[in-house]
């Protein structure tokens, strides 16, 4: 199941997951279009589906396997893949324009980048929700601190109980018969990307309750019953919001009087 180690399952290819987003992807890390995201990878892979700290042994092994490549490589054949910068003209000419890829290609041109993250928040579009959660996770990982990310994580927690919506063309399957099943499963792709982000925030901030947020969710999660879990999340998201605000307040980081959010910008690079 090497697809778990592909660009499809990486937070740097923000707009796709195993079940979401057809065709080409876009890697914010390498600033390149990904024509075959299920076939490519790199040593910086950061999995979407699980918090980094529960799969770190596998990620270290993978990084070692692809250490000899400076950029993207073929997952199976271990050959380098040439970097290809995004071109809007090319996308239109090939009839491959994709609004999420278009936005992501401009991510590093947005200064400060946290404005880009905030602009992605809200709404029920499933692919956009996936992109938002992935961007928050890579921002938090690059900064290496919770202090610059708590506002984004708070925003993400408010969206956790909402059911994402997927138009047919956003599901990674051409099989119309299977699409009802995949549509349901795609909700879980978004949910676990978000929840893993909350758990990674728990890791950075040292809030163990969030680090093991899965232990706070009961039967509906184990049964993968989205309707039941969604109701449970309405309660939990409120508790987790209070917890993050209380922790940030205690640490003197909750909207301090003279904070300049642009100060954090220096942390967010490639």
């Amino acid at each position: 199941m090497d697809e778990l180690f592909s660009c499809r399952n990486c937070i740097h290819n923000c707009g796709q997951s195993l079940l979401i987003g057809r065709g080409a992807g876009y890697c914010v890390k390498h600033d390149t279009v990904l024509f075959y995201p299920e076939r490519t990878t790199c040593k910086y892979l950061h999995r979407k589906d699980l918090p980094r700290f529960v799969v770190d042994e596998g990620l270290r092994e993978h990084a070692s396997e692809f250490a000899g490549f400076s950029g993207i490589a073929d997952l199976v054949e271990h050959k380098p893949i040439e970097r290809l910068h995004y071109s809007e003209k090319f996308a239109w000419e090939r009839k491959q324009f994709d609004p999420i890829n278009q936005s992501l290609a401009h991510y590093h041109k947005t200064k400060p980048t946290w404005i880009f993250l905030q602009a992605m928040s809200g709404g029920i579009d499933g692919r956009r929700a996936l992109t938002h959660a992935s961007l928050i996770r890579r921002y938090m990982d690059n900064c290496g601190t919770w202090k610059s990310s708590y506002r984004f994580v708070l925003a993400m927690i408010q969206e956790l109980p909402r059911t994402p919506y997927f138009p047919e063309e956003d599901l990674n399957s051409d099989d119309v018969v299977l699409n009802a099943e995949i549509r349901e499963d795609a909700i879980w792709d978004v949910f676990f990307t978000r929840l893993s982000g909350i758990q990674e925030y728990g890791f950075h901030s040292g809030i163990e309750t969030l680090m093991w947020a899965t232990d706070q969710l009961n039967g509906s999660l184990t049964a993968l019953d989205w309707s039941g879990l969604s109701r449970e999340l309405n309660v939990k998201s409120s508790e987790w919001t209070d917890l993050i605000i209380a922790h940030a307040t205690d640490e003197g980081a909750f909207f301090p009087p003279h904070a300049q959010w642009e100060d954090f910008e220096e942390f967010e690079s490639l």
């Binding site: 199941m1 090497d2 699980l50 596998g58 993978h62 758990q199 093991w212 999660l221 184990t222 993968l224």
Partner: protein, 143 residues
């Protein structure tokens, strides 16, 4: 009369089934989500060859009588799902997180597992992968 057990399949590279890493003992959930890397002591198989296209271009059928006869074990798909469900219910922290996600993957792929029970006495650890490669091929046939 006992019903015939179901067939299991594996997709892999044309030159053979990927060798398990018999030195890497891990839980079913760790194996399914690849938490400890791409090779473990287990080998994934599926009831449905259409559900595992990303495993590789070549399709193999697991030879159940040989696997069972030589003392290895097939963890049936339903048994695996039940195990993961219990693991997700009863465990905490890392193992619960992995079991939750493993349930999804195992269900989607109709996955079962082969648990190898080779006698490894006298085999040099550094040769274990190539030894395993040679020894698991006889349990699969190109379909």
């Amino acid at each position: 009369m006992t019903p015939k057990p179901p067939d299991y399949f594996r997709r892999d590279q044309a030159d053979g089934v990927t060798a398990p890493d018999l030195s890497k003992d891990c839980s079913y959930a760790e194996h399914i989500v690849r938490a400890r890397g791409k090779r473990t002591q287990l080998t994934s198989v599926s009831l449905d060859p259409q559900k595992i296209n990303d495993f590789g271009p070549a399709l193999y059928r697991a030879l159940r009588p040989d696997i069972d006869g030589d003392g290895h074990t097939i963890i049936e798909h339903l048994e695996l799902l039940q195990h993961l469900r219990v693991s997700a219910e009863l465990n905490e922290k890392e193992e619960r997180v992995r079991a939750l996600q493993a349930q999804r993957y195992a269900k989607r792929r109709q996955e079962g597992l082969v648990k190898w029970n080779f006698s490894l006495g006298g085999i040099d650890r550094k040769n274990l992968i190539s030894w395993a490669f040679q020894n698991v091929q006889k349990y699969f046939r190109r379909a």
